[in-house]
C-alpha cells in the first residue's frame, strides 16, 4: 500500500560523529547548551558562515524522522510534510537558529509535534458549544505531560487498526495516500457512495475514539501565543 521511493544518493547525517574541533565551545554565545548536542556541533559551525546552508543541513538531517513523527498523528503524508515544511520555513524566517537555547533537534521535534497535535485536535474535535470550551481555556493548552503525546499517537494507531478492514483500507487510501474518492472507487470496484459512507463511518469512529485526548478552543489561543 505504501510506495517506497528509493532515496537515491540521499544521505542522512550520522548522529554520533565527533569532529576535531574542540574547546571552541568557549567562544560560542553563552546560551547554547554545551554537553549533549555535540552531534550538532558541525551544523552550528556552519550557521556562523552561512545560515542558508545551515538550514539545509538541518533539513537534510531531520526531515525524514520529523515527517514520520508527524504522520503518526495526522495520518496523512501531505499534511505531515506540510507541517514539517512550515516549521522549517518559520525557523528560517524568524532566525530561530540565533535564538534557540536548546539543540536544534529539541526545537524542531517540539514544534512539529505541537503542530501535528494541534492539527489533529482541530480536525477531530467538534465544537458542541463555543462558550462551554471558553471556560476551560486556562487548562489544557497543550498536553501537560510529554508522554501524553505518545499516548495520543498510539491511540490514533489503535483506532485505525480497529476500523473494519474495508473501511480501514478506504480510510488509508483517502487520508494517508491522498487518493480521491473516484480513484478509490475505481480501484476497488465500488460506487462513490459506498466510499463516502465508509469514510464517514471511519471519520466519525476516529472522532469518538479521540474524545478526551484532544481539547480544542484552547489550542487556538495557544498557537497564537506561540507566534506572538
Amino acid at each position: 500500500m505504501q510506495q517506497v521511493n528509493t532515496p537515491a544518493d540521499f544521505s542522512v547525517q550520522p548522529t554520533n560523529v565527533r569532529f576535531p574541533f574542540r574547546n571552541d565551545l568557549a567562544d560560542e554565545p553563552e546560551n547554547k547548551s554545551m554537553d549533549s548536542s555535540d552531534d550538532e556541533l558541525f551544523i552550528r559551525q556552519v550557521f556562523n558562515t552561512s545560515p542558508v546552508q545551515g538550514c539545509e543541513l538541518l533539513f537534510r538531517r531531520y526531515q525524514r524522522a520529523l515527517c514520520s513523527h508527524a504522520a503518526r498523528y495526522v495520518y496523512s503524508r501531505e499534511v505531515a510534510e506540510d507541517i514539517v515544511s512550515d516549521v522549517f520555513c518559520k525557523f528560517w524566517k524568524t532566525n530561530a537558529y540565533q535564538s534557540v537555547t536548546s539543540s536544534f533537534r529539541y526545537y524542531l521535534f517540539r514544534s512539529v509535534r505541537n503542530e501535528a497535535y494541534s492539527y489533529l485536535r482541530s480536525e477531530f474535535t467538534q465544537l458542541d458549544s463555543l462558550d462551554h470550551n471558553l471556560t476551560e481555556s486556562a487548562i489544557g493548552l497543550r498536553p501537560d505531560y510529554i508522554t501524553q503525546y505518545e499516548e495520543t499517537f498510539n491511540r490514533v494507531k489503535e483506532l485505525v487498526e480497529e476500523l473494519p478492514p474495508q473501511c480501514r483500507k478506504i480510510f488509508l487510501m483517502s487520508r494517508f495516500e491522498g487518493k480521491r474518492y473516484q480513484e478509490i472507487a475505481d480501484e476497488l470496484g465500488l460506487s462513490i457512495k459506498t466510499v463516502e459512507v465508509h469514510m464517514g463511518k471511519g471519520l466519525s469512529f476516529m472522532r469518538t475514539g479521540l474524545k478526551g485526548y484532544l481539547t480544542l478552543l484552547a489550542s487556538l489561543v495557544f498557537l497564537l501565543l506561540e507566534n506572538g
Binding site: Q2, V4, Q63, S68, R77, F109, Q126, Y145, T147
Partner: protein
C-alpha cells in the same frame, strides 16, 4: 529513579509497551531539560529505525532550498546590543498584540464556526427518528440521518427560519402576527408556510414536499429563473435532478409520512429504490445480485422496529435471500 530510565524504556514508550506507572516515571524524569534533550535524541534514533513512511526527501529538500533562496534576509549582526531596552519595549507591545489577537481569534472562531454558534443543530443518526418542539411551539419530527438547524437567537422575533438536510415532518403553529415559517434546504428550494402540516424531503437522491393541512408556498430555482408555486392539502411536489418541479395530487392512502410511526409503505417501488432508502436511513451498503432482481417491485405496508426486521420483511415479501454483515447487505435470488 533516574537509573530506571533507559533508552530501552523510552523506546518501549514510543512503541506503546509501557505501563502508566512507567510513563509517570518518564514524565518525572523529563522535568529536566537535559533529560528532555536526551529524549529527543532517542526519539530521532527510534523514528529513523521505525519510519511510519518514507518521505520523498529529494523533492522536499528542493522545495525548501527554493524557499530559502527566494526569501533572503539581511544578516542581523548587531541585534544583540541594546538587548534589555529592546526586550522591554517588545514585551509591552507583545501584551497588546496578544490581547488584540485573542479577540480577533475569538471573532474568527465564532465566524468560522458560525454554523455551530448561530445555529442549534438537531441531528439524527442512521435508523433514528426524533421529535422535538421549537420555541414557537412548532413540532418537528426528524427522520433518520437528517439534521435541522435552528437559529439560537432571533428565531420567532421577526421571522422563523430553519435549515433542513434530510427528511422531516413539520406541524407549524400559526402565530398571531402572521409570521411565516420558512424551511430552507441545500437544494434550490425553500418552503414558506403560514401554519400547517407538511413534510419536506431533501436528500442526495431527490427532493419533495408533501402538504397535509393548510397552505404552503414553495420558492425554487430552476436554471436561472426563480419560480413559485402554491400547494394545497394532498399536493405533492417533487423535484428532479434539474430542479424542475412536478405537482401531483396524492391519495390519502399513499402516505409518505408514515415513517414517523416506524411504518413503511412500499407502493410499487423497485428494489433498487429500496436499497437507496436503506443506505440513506440506516447507512447500509447494499448490493443486489442481478439487474433483474433490482427491478422487482415491492408493494405493501408494514411496521418495522429496526433495520433487521425491515430486512426480514423484504426477504419474506420477495422470497429472496437477504444477508447482512455489519453494514454490508446482499440481496440475492434463492
Amino acid at each position: 529513579m533516574k537509573a530506571d530510565i533507559t533508552k530501552e524504556l523510552i523506546f518501549n514508550n514510543f512503541a506503546n509497551k509501557t505501563t502508566p506507572l512507567q510513563r509517570k516515571q518518564i514524565d518525572d524524569w523529563l522535568q529536566s531539560q537535559t533529560n528532555e534533550e536526551l529524549y529527543y535524541q532517542w526519539l530521532e534514533e527510534w523514528e529513523n529505525a521505525n519510519l511510519e513512511y518514507l518521505s520523498q526527501s529529494e523533492r522536499l529538500l528542493e522545495r525548501y532550498t527554493h524557499f530559502l533562496h527566494n526569501n533572503p534576509h539581511p544578516v542581523q549582526a548587531n541585534q544583540l546590543k541594546n538587548r534589555s531596552g529592546y526586550f522591554q519595549q517588545r514585551q509591552w507591545w507583545l501584551t497588546w498584540l496578544i490581547a488584540a489577537s485573542v479577540l480577533f481569534v475569538l471573532a474568527m472562531g465564532t465566524w468560522l464556526f458560525r454554523d455551530y454558534t448561530y445555529y442549534k443543530t438537531y441531528r439524527t443518526a442512521y435508523g433514528e427518528v426524533k421529535t422535538f418542539v421549537l420555541t414557537d411551539g412548532s413540532q418537528v419530527t426528524l427522520n433518520a440521518n437528517s439534521s435541522l438547524r435552528v437559529p439560537r437567537w432571533g428565531f420567532g422575533d421577526e421571522k422563523r427560519e430553519v435549515i433542513l438536510d434530510g427528511e422531516a415532518g413539520f406541524t407549524v403553529t400559526h402565530l398571531p402576527n402572521q409570521q411565516k415559517f420558512l424551511v430552507k434546504t441545500d437544494k434550490k428550494f425553500e418552503v414558506i408556510v403560514l401554519g400547517t402540516e407538511f413534510s419536506v424531503f431533501a436528500r442526495h437522491r431527490g427532493a419533495r414536499v408533501i402538504l397535509e393541512k393548510g397552505k404552503v408556498q414553495v420558492n425554487y430555482q430552476e436554471g436561472n429563473s426563480a419560480k413559485q408555486l402554491v400547494m394545497k392539502p394532498g399536493d405533492l411536489v417533487s423535484f428532479n435532478a434539474k430542479n424542475k418541479a412536478t405537482l401531483k395530487t396524492v391519495s390519502p392512502s399513499q402516505n409518505f409520512s408514515i415513517w414517523k410511526e416506524k411504518r413503511f409503505v412500499f407502493d410499487e417501488i423497485s428494489l433498487s429504490d429500496v436499497a437507496q432508502l436503506l443506505e440513506e436511513t440506516y447507512g447500509l451498503s447494499v448490493t443486489i445480485d442481478t439487474p433483474e432482481l433490482a427491478q422487482r417491485k415491492l408493494m405493501g405496508s408494514f411496521r418495522a422496529e429496526n433495520v433487521d426486521e425491515l430486512l426480514r420483511t423484504i426477504s419474506d415479501l420477495l422470497d429472496i435471500n437477504v444477508v447482512r454483515q455489519e453494514d454490508q447487505v446482499r440481496l440475492s435470488e434463492k
